[in-house]
């Protein structure tokens, strides 16, 4: 197999493709492996619910946060999830705009990833509040206090960026889904499924008019999603860069965070594609070519991250601010050095394996590296949030931070939430964007005919 391997297998026809994808969504009974995967994830969701209930009852004190480390898991996991979601959007929107043919078969997966990543991220900002029931004070609406939010705060920008991102993602995802829902509707055999998918398809029948405006609208939507996804992660970066805190006060944070989004996005998408193409035997749609491309992209974003890390170190010492240096030394050599070096290893070193073409096709390696990146990105956020805060300007205020049980339970709960979401979408929603695949197949056909 090689990089010039086609993005779809020649044997694939519109009919066979449609039938297979619809068959997955319409299965009477779920696969066994599906249950094996879903049950533990559902259990984790239960854990999440428990954690949240107790949090609201007792207060954020149940977490490890303290003075001076006032932000902990809630923020860093939020950033982590947002990065994962953004990665999905970038694949589905950005690469749509550049007409990357390999995107069509995996963009639905990328979009589900965006959707449920955003969902997992979305609950954190509210949990994070000391008085979560007052979160609506961040909306602007005419109230009896005649008060408005404080628009200078990066946190408010973040809140609205997240708000926009979540809703826009849902619209974008659903909009691209409509024609495929129609296909499923027409393949459905039971009245119940016909009605459900039929209602969701909103009566899409593929008329000339429907197709024409669909393409136009979808194109513009993608063109909007691209800057939106860049903006949300830049703004998340500003949550930190906007503060004068040592370790945060850096102009490179917005791009730095976007690089992180790319890296974790590609890693997660690989982690989802690899088992799915195997379990749902879609190797002929998600070919070695896809893995190759994604690995290359992962490698590229890893190099970007390396650049960001090195600039971080450079500016700290070139800037010569004492507090910054003290903090950075603590980060690199202090109690939290495993976090720093862990991030270095997983985000910078490990991906370098992908310089080798062979390893770019070696499934175990890919899985290993991607898992490493996922962990590494979390460590990076831990390093940014916690180690920066634990060394403020005044030595008298130095502190330490350790996650409590509830910190971890919430984190794993959200992981459960994400995975159950993905599994449900695999179970009930066409996992490949069929109408885009059809165009792709058609193109290949015509290409061959002209070639022949």
């Amino acid at each position: 197999m090689s990089a010039d391997e086609p993005v779809v297998d020649a044997s694939l026809t519109m009919a066979s493709m449609t039938d297979r994808i619809c068959a997955i969504a319409l299965r009477e009974h779920a696969f066994l492996w599906w249950w094996i995967a879903f049950i533990p994830c559902a259990a984790l969701v239960g854990l999440l619910v428990v954690s949240i209930v107790y949090l609201f009852y007792a207060g954020v004190g149940i977490w490890g946060i303290n003075w001076p480390v006032m932000w902990g898991f809630a923020i860093l996991s939020y950033v982590w999830w947002i990065a994962i979601a953004s990665g999905g959007t970038i694949i589905s929107a950005l690469f749509f705009l550049v007409r990357a043919d390999w995107r069509d078969s995996i963009n639905r997966i990328a979009e589900s990833m965006m959707l449920f990543g955003a969902a997992a991220a979305g609950i954190y900002p509210i949990l994070h509040l000391g008085r979560p029931w007052l979160f609506y004070w961040l909306f602007f609406y005419p109230n009896v206090m005649t008060l408005w939010p404080q628009f200078r705060s990066p946190l408010l920008w973040d809140f609205w960026a997240l708000f926009t991102y979540v809703f826009a993602s849902i619209l974008f995802w659903y909009f691209g889904l409509v024609p495929d829902l129609a296909s499923v509707r027409d393949r459905a055999t039971t009245a119940r499924k016909q009605r459900i998918y039929g209602a969701l398809a909103l009566g899409f029948r593929g008329t000339r008019r429907q197709w024409k405006h669909l393409r136009a609208t979808y194109g513009v939507m993608a063109a909007i999603m691209a800057p939106v996804v860049v903006s949300i992660h830049s703004i998340v970066g500003l949550d930190f860069a906007g503060a004068a805190t040592p370790g945060w006060h850096s102009t490179q944070f917005p791009p730095f965070f976007v690089f992180g989004a790319l890296l974790s996005g590609f890693a997660i998408v690989l982690l989802l594609v690899i088992p799915m193409r195997r379990l749902l035997n879609l190797e002929d749609m998600m070919t070695g070519r896809h893995l190759d491309v994604l690995c290359k992209l992962l490698l590229t974003s890893s190099l970007l991250i390396c650049y960001a890390y090195s600039m971080d170190a450079f500016t700290t010492f070139y800037g010569g601010d004492q507090a910054e240096r003290t903090m950075f030394e603590a980060r690199v050599f202090g109690d939290y050095r495993p976090v720093y070096w862990g991030a270095m290893l997983f985000n910078c070193l490990l991906p370098q394996l992908f310089w080798s073409r062979r390893l770019r096709r070696h499934i175990p390696t890919i899985v290993l590296v991607c898992l490493g990146v996922v962990v590494g990105m979390w460590l990076e956020r831990y390093e940014i949030v916690v180690t920066s805060l634990h060394r403020p300007h005044l030595p008298s205020a130095w502190g330490n931070f350790h996650g409590t049980f509830w910190d971890w339970s919430t984190l794993f709960g959200t992981i459960g939430l994400f995975l159950s979401g993905i599994l449900l979408s695999v179970r009930y929603i066409p996992i490949v964007s069929m109408h885009e695949m059809r165009s792709l197949i058609a193109e290949n056909r015509s290409a061959k005919e002209t070639g022949a």
């Binding site: 609406y141 109230n143 005649t146 008060l147 509707r185 016909q194 009605r195 209602a199 909103l202």
Partner: protein
């Protein structure tokens, strides 16, 4: 084959979507209006008291000055409630047998205070000071309404933060001459001094009256 939906489904689905769309602005409107309603602010609800005291009778009828009972209103943040002794200054002479007044006599004998129900309450994080408002020409009526007409006392104004700010942003028009401060029936007339003059008379300070720190500590 038979179609999945009948012709009626088209209209039904459109109507459903329109209603769903309408729910959003509707909800927002409710959210905005609800706190302003009298119900949410429990205005105009007479509160049952151990003694059905009538301001109408005592103030409008007998012409007793507010300060006779609310003695510290000019010097303290707290206007003060009349001690049993104050009630008994008259009621040891008149209505000495009235059943309505039994709790008052009871309190005098046992020395256990009468427990009144609160009518106008502000949140604990709001530090309202009566004396300064009186000193600067704000009438009782501005916040308590026409108490002189209340057979049973009720909360007359919304007393939301907006209510306070409306006046703090532009005090002039709400001020009244010294003589009228305790007159709950007073209204601006042609010969009332202009807002500007009143502000001058009372030396309303040049400080920012909408500072958070003015009321919240």
């Amino acid at each position: 084959m038979a179609a999945i939906f009948g012709p009626a489904a088209n209209l039904a689905s459109k109507v459903f979507l329109l209603l769903a769309a309408a729910a959003l602005p509707g909800g927002m409107l409710l959210w905005w209006r609800w706190p302003k309603t009298d119900y949410a602010r429990n205005r105009r609800e007479a509160v049952a008291q151990p003694v059905p005291f009538s301001h109408q009778h005592h103030v409008a009828g007998l012409g007793i000055d507010c300060r006779f009972c609310h003695a510290s209103v000019e010097v303290s943040s707290n206007a003060g409630l009349p001690p049993t002794y104050t009630c008994m200054t008259c009621h040891s002479q008149i209505w000495t047998k009235a059943a309505l007044l039994a709790p008052v006599r009871e309190s005098l004998i046992t020395g256990i205070p009468i427990v009144w129900r609160r009518v106008t309450d502000l949140p604990d994080y709001v530090y309202f000071n009566h004396s300064i408002h009186i000193a600067k020409g704000v009438g009782c009526e501005s916040c308590h309404g026409e108490v002189a007409t209340m057979a049973l006392t009720y909360k007359a104004k919304a007393l939301t933060m907006k209510f306070c700010l409306d006046c703090h942003r532009n005090p002039g028009p709400r001020l009244r001459p010294k003589s009228a401060i305790f007159d709950t029936k007073w209204h601006r007339t042609a010969d009332t001094p202009s807002p500007a003059t009143l502000l001058g008379i009372y030396h309303v300070p040049d400080r920012n009256l909408t500072d958070c720190s003015l009321c919240h500590r």
